[in-house]
Symmetry: C2
Subunit: 214 residues, 2 copies
């Protein structure tokens, strides 16, 4: 019996959810191994051997290679399981999808993450993920509200022009964007603004896919 | 006569240099079109049509597709010109290279960029690249010094274990790392710390490649 790829992850981690949705869309067999962020298991000696930055998720291949960082994990999964492409097909489409995925990540996902990490009392001195401690900076929380507002405005403009974030087809850029919307809504009470009808209609379409529950 | 791909870029932009080195390593024919950051040409109506975020570089394909964001540009170039692979070859190697390139970018390049953008008087209200204005936050300059110090320490650890940042072979991760070192040295006077001998020896090796002058 062929074993499934091992994915170390956490159910409450938005970065883990990006991988779970991707895997569900492609129908890849993955063994989920929970890492308990509540007890800081991600900083345990055993886990840091797998992921030296002490962050989830990490994909561990059968031959032992450990892959951290969501875009790197998704790159492996797309290369090894090319059916149902989610990173584009032609060279130009791959690049355009990568561009939009990155915009969603840097201007959306990372903005929400920065705000959360600088705001929550439980993340004191953990303003940046990884092995190094950094103090929270309150000004980043204020700036974060503005960054998320700008993200929503730019996403609405984009979705007034195209059906999916990356263009004509569902792609990883939609996954990053929808995880960002849910993360902002849940962690910061910053949901899709009233009147952003293109974003609302796109969201409802993505949320209707079976992968959304992943 | 086949035309070369058009690259809109600026000689002083570290993000443009990442693309120039990549292109030089692969020997791809590229027409460089200068964008004058000194006169804010990146925000001109003509350029924003090509790159809505108003940032350099942008690659424009013969059929008109515009590709912004360095990793997206490099993805296109690697797919369209697979000779001399710089993003890895097997699925696992592609993922490992992507992981290390991202670590160099997020913990190195982005840390230097954040520090510079929050520090220079000429970048007042331009603390984040893109179409939206954000005020500088002085605390980020102080934090930036620490982030760059941590980047150098982590890079030294990595290079004590492997020959190149991504593993056994020269890759995009070396390009991102070397551009980061030069950027930190020039813009922040934060050069490779004394005693980081693995980093120094790696740097000298990379600097000896003809692409380094790009």
């Amino acid at each position: 019996m062929k074993s499934c790829i091992k994915l170390y992850e956490s159910s409450g981690s938005p970065n883990s959810r990006r991988v779970r949705i991707f895997v569900a869309e492609k129908g890849i067999c993955v063994s989920r191994i929970p890492v308990d962020l509540g007890t800081k298991e991600q900083n345990s000696e055993a886990y840091v051997k797998i992921n030296p930055r002490g962050v989830v998720p990490t994909l561990v291949l059968d031959e032992g290679t450990e892959i951290g960082e969501v875009p790197a994990i998704l790159r492996y999964l797309e290369e090894a399981h090319p059916t149902t492409p989610l990173l584009g097909t032609t060279p130009a489409e791959k690049a355009v999808v990568a561009m939009w995925d990155r915009r969603m990540e840097l201007e959306g996902f990372a903005a929400v993450m920065e705000t959360v990490r600088n705001k929550l009392p439980g993340l004191k001195d953990r303003a940046i993920a990884g092995t190094h401690d950094y103090k929270q900076i309150p000004a980043l929380v204020e700036r974060g509200q503005q960054r998320v507002a700008n993200f929503y405005a730019d996403l609405e403009s984009r979705l007034n022009e195209v059906t999916f974030v990356g263009g004509d087809r569902f792609s990883v850029a939609d996954i990053t964007a929808v995880v960002t919307v849910d993360f902002a809504t849940k962690a910061l009470s910053l949901g899709i603004p009233e009147g952003n009808s293109a974003t609302r209609s796109w969201y409802d379409k993505i949320a209707a896919r079976s992968s959304f529950a992943a």
